[in-house]
């Protein structure tokens, strides 16, 4: 934006050239691996392409079908339910964890390390381990203790399967958000706390009036990241339920992969992916705009 203020036609300075030299390859890469696939996806969305061989153009039929397809509708509902619950749960727990880990407690650094471990593990590995826990260990515990709702595998019922996925997703997702909150808490200067102590604020008031407003930018970024990750949920579904039972846990990404690659709906699912991309962009944009306005600067 700065450049437009300069007079037009002025030759590029040495600095500009360096910036351009850095920018252009990145821009090209971004175009090749992001924009081009998007345009191609839209193009395939207009066809009945199976992913291979010959195909015909079908106009906007795929896009119209998207809005009447029960399975796509259900997958959107599930994904949003999952994303909203995940975002609330993950942010709440990781904020509490971060507040705790930011105190001067013994073994603080070791604890921070341990809480971060789930994030390093691959989603599929974690999923398969939890799948075993849900199928065999929890029901065994349920049988031993006589707790009724544990006796059946959580993954086998349409009512509880999504909760199991939330548990696994949250277990993994909390780590990253906690780290971001901790770094946020460390940007709040000591003086502010001292000042508020002099004013007699403590406890909840201190948190809600001082700490939280000051880490608002981190809250925004966490909310956007968490929401985006949850909307794209895939690994957990793949390893825990494969969209079952009764197709009750099919997320949008899973459906796109499953029917686009495995089934012969490459064209239709390309249309789905294109629409989904727009939905995510809109949501992220709204979140940034809404929350960005509430950020405080010292």
């Amino acid at each position: 934006m700065e450049k437009s203020k300069k007079k037009a036609r002025e030759p590029w300075s040495q600095n500009d050239k360096i910036f351009l030299g850095i920018l252009i390859p990145v821009l090209l890469l971004f175009f090749c691996f992001n924009t081009l696939p998007l345009i191609k996806g839209f193009y395939y969305g207009l066809t009945n392409f199976r992913g291979y061989g010959s195909y015909d153009f079908v106009g906007l039929r795929n896009f119209i079908d998207l809005f009447s397809d029960v399975r796509v509708g259900k997958s959107y509902l599930f994904t949003f339910k999952y994303a909203i619950v995940m975002t609330i749960l993950v942010n709440l727990i990781s904020l509490i964890l971060a507040l705790g880990l930011n105190r001067n407690i013994k073994g603080k650094n070791a604890l921070r390390g341990i809480y971060f471990v789930p994030n390093i593990l691959g989603g599929l590995v974690v999923g398969y381990i939890f799948s075993f826990v849900f199928t065999y260990i929890l029901p065994a515990v349920g049988d031993m203790t006589g707790i009724g709702f544990l006796q059946n595998s959580m993954l086998a019922s349409t009512k509880t399967a999504w909760i199991a996925i939330v548990i696994v997703g949250a277990w993994q997702g909390i780590a990253m958000n906690t780290i971001i909150y901790i770094s946020g808490l460390q940007t709040v200067p000591e003086e502010v706390y001292e000042a508020c102590m002099l004013d007699g604020a403590s406890g909840w008031k201190k948190f809600s009036k001082i700490t939280f407003p000051l880490i608002m930018p981190f809250f925004t970024i966490n909310l956007v990241l968490c929401m985006k990750n949850a909307l794209m949920v895939f690994d957990q579904i793949m390893s825990l339920t494969k969209g079952g039972p009764s197709q009750s846990t099919e997320s949008i990404s899973y459906l796109i992969y499953k029917n686009g690659m495995d089934g012969g709906q490459f064209g239709f699912q390309s249309a789905n992916a294109f629409v989904f991309f727009i939905v995510i962009v809109v949501i992220s944009f709204l979140q940034m705009k809404f929350l960005g306005g509430k950020e405080e600067q010292l």
């Binding site: 030299g21 252009i24 390859p25 090209l28 890469l29 090749c32 009945n48 199976r50 992913g51 291979y52 061989g53 010959s54 195909y55 015909d56 397809d69 399975r71 199928t135 029901p139 059946n152 595998s153 993954l155 086998a156 349409t158 339920t241 494969k242 969209g243 079952g244 039972p245 009764s246 197709q247 499953k258 029917n259 690659m261 495995d262 089934g263 012969g264 709906q265 490459f266």
Partner: protein
């Protein structure tokens, strides 16, 4: 000068990126000048067999190098390669909807001039004809191995309790009652892996429904809800004799449970035998045809092409590819495969079948077989998940909901094919 240099720089960047995108095209000869034939087959459980065959082939052929790939989830990998237009020469796939789609997309070569075709059993060749959306000229696949689905049972357990093999539906239910009375679990299901819901479904449907029902429906002459009602009812009855909460367990769990003697029978195909034996190598397994009908003579063995070879349309070395197929079809190599995989050969001749298939032998030898119904279902329609949904649905109108949904979704997912079939028929008239 600077402008020129800038242009060159931009050109170089673009060229590098483009070459990154379009790499992957390579000619198919190796450095010794041998023709490389690449075969991708979709049965990862047979990887050892194919590795041995590959070695044997390369040791005996000087001018061809055979490369066999047996990846996990091969269908997805194959389709991804097709999207990249990086096709292998030969693909080893099952006779299912994917074959219909590849054929419809004009990906496969007509191999009707292949001399080995005369050695293949006719019923397996005609099974492939049924998979064509609209009848086509030519032969596009060489059936290699078939599988057979029905009920596997624990032979030792049956002998110990003197249970006999049922030939009608009523006898089968009685047998389940008898087994249960002895305190043994009659059946075990792994319905968490939705595709296993199709194993009983296919085995029952093959007895009760016409084999060309999909074509009939696509032509507008029949409805699935009319023929599938009995199938759906009978599959639900099976749940009464299975472990509680069968959707909690997957295919591996079910195979393991059956191998450990936790159930007396397992409704699945012969393809599960190697998996079961990997848990319990000494297990004495036998099988019988699913007696879905109350008239014993009506029972048909559920058997379809489990592995067949197709040559891709763009393969440059047809003769060399034929040579590979001839090699694979040599009696010795077919028997080698059979011994390892408990499969059913599609080639005519005297082969020793695995003892696990004793109970189905008559049907195999006499050709009383029909293809899996699900080979005609589009995979994106997820009939397996629909059946799972139906089995989990405890409301009183579950059956009607399921059948109505089946009819409706069939039309939705087969729109292009129905149009194609009806256009073809109008042309014929």
């Amino acid at each position: 000068m600077t402008k020129k240099r800038r242009c060159t720089a931009i050109f170089l960047v673009v060229a590098t990126t483009m070459s990154l995108l379009f790499s992957g095209c390579s000619n198919k000869k190796n450095k010794d000048g041998k023709v490389v034939i690449e075969l991708v087959q979709y049965k990862p459980e047979a990887v050892d067999v194919f590795e041995a065959l590959e070695e044997k082939f390369n040791a005996t052929h000087d001018d061809i190098e055979l490369v066999i790939d047996s990846p996990n989830d091969a269908m997805t990998i194959l389709k991804t390669r097709f999207i990249r237009e990086d096709n292998p020469d030969i693909i080893g796939i099952g006779g299912d909807i994917n074959y219909s789609n590849f054929l419809d997309a004009e990906m496969l070569m007509d191999v009707s001039d292949f001399d080995g075709l005369s050695d293949i059993k006719e019923n397996y060749l005609s099974t492939n004809k049924d998979l064509e959306y609209v009848p086509m000229d030519g032969v596009y696949a060489v059936p290699y191995m078939a599988n057979a689905a029905g009920i596997l049972y624990n032979r030792d357990m049956f002998e110990e309790h003197n249970w006999s093999i049922p030939t009608t539906w009523d006898e089968f239910l009685q047998l389940c009652e008898d087994i249960e009375a002895e305190g043994i679990q009659p059946l075990y299901f792994g319905f968490k892996d939705t595709w296993t819901c199709l194993a009983p479904w296919n085995a029952i449907a093959v007895n009760l429904c016409p084999s060309d029902i999909a074509y009939q429906v696509n032509s507008g002459n029949a409805k699935f809800s009319d023929v599938y009602e009995e199938v759906a009812v009978k599959e639900r009855v099976l749940l009464d004799y299975a472990q509680p909460n069968p959707v909690a367990y997957g295919y591996n769990d079910a195979c393991t449970a059956f191998a450990r003697g936790e159930s007396a029978m397992y409704v699945i195909g012969s393809y599960a035998i190697s998996q079961i034996k990997s848990v319990n190598p000494d297990m004495n397994i036998d099988s019988f045809v699913f007696p879905a009908s109350n008239n014993a003579d009506e029972n048909i063995l559920n058997s379809g092409n489990d592995l067949m070879f197709c040559i891709m349309e763009d393969c440059e070395y047809k003769e060399e590819a034929y040579e590979v197929l001839r090699f694979l079809l040599e009696d010795e190599n077919v028997q080698f495969y059979l011994d390892d995989q408990s499969a059913v050969p599609c080639k005519k001749g005297d082969f020793t079948l695995a003892s696990e298939l004793d109970g189905m032998n008559d049907y195999i030898v006499n050709g009383i077989v029909a293809d899996y119904q699900d080979h005609h279902y589009p995979s994106e329609m997820s009939v397996d998940a629909m059946i799972q949904t139906y089995l989990l649905d405890n409301s009183s109108n579950a059956l009607d909901t399921f059948l109505a949904r089946f009819d409706k979704e069939w039309e939705r997912y087969n729109r292009d094919i129905i149009a194609k079939v009806q256009e073809y028929q109008e042309k014929e008239e």
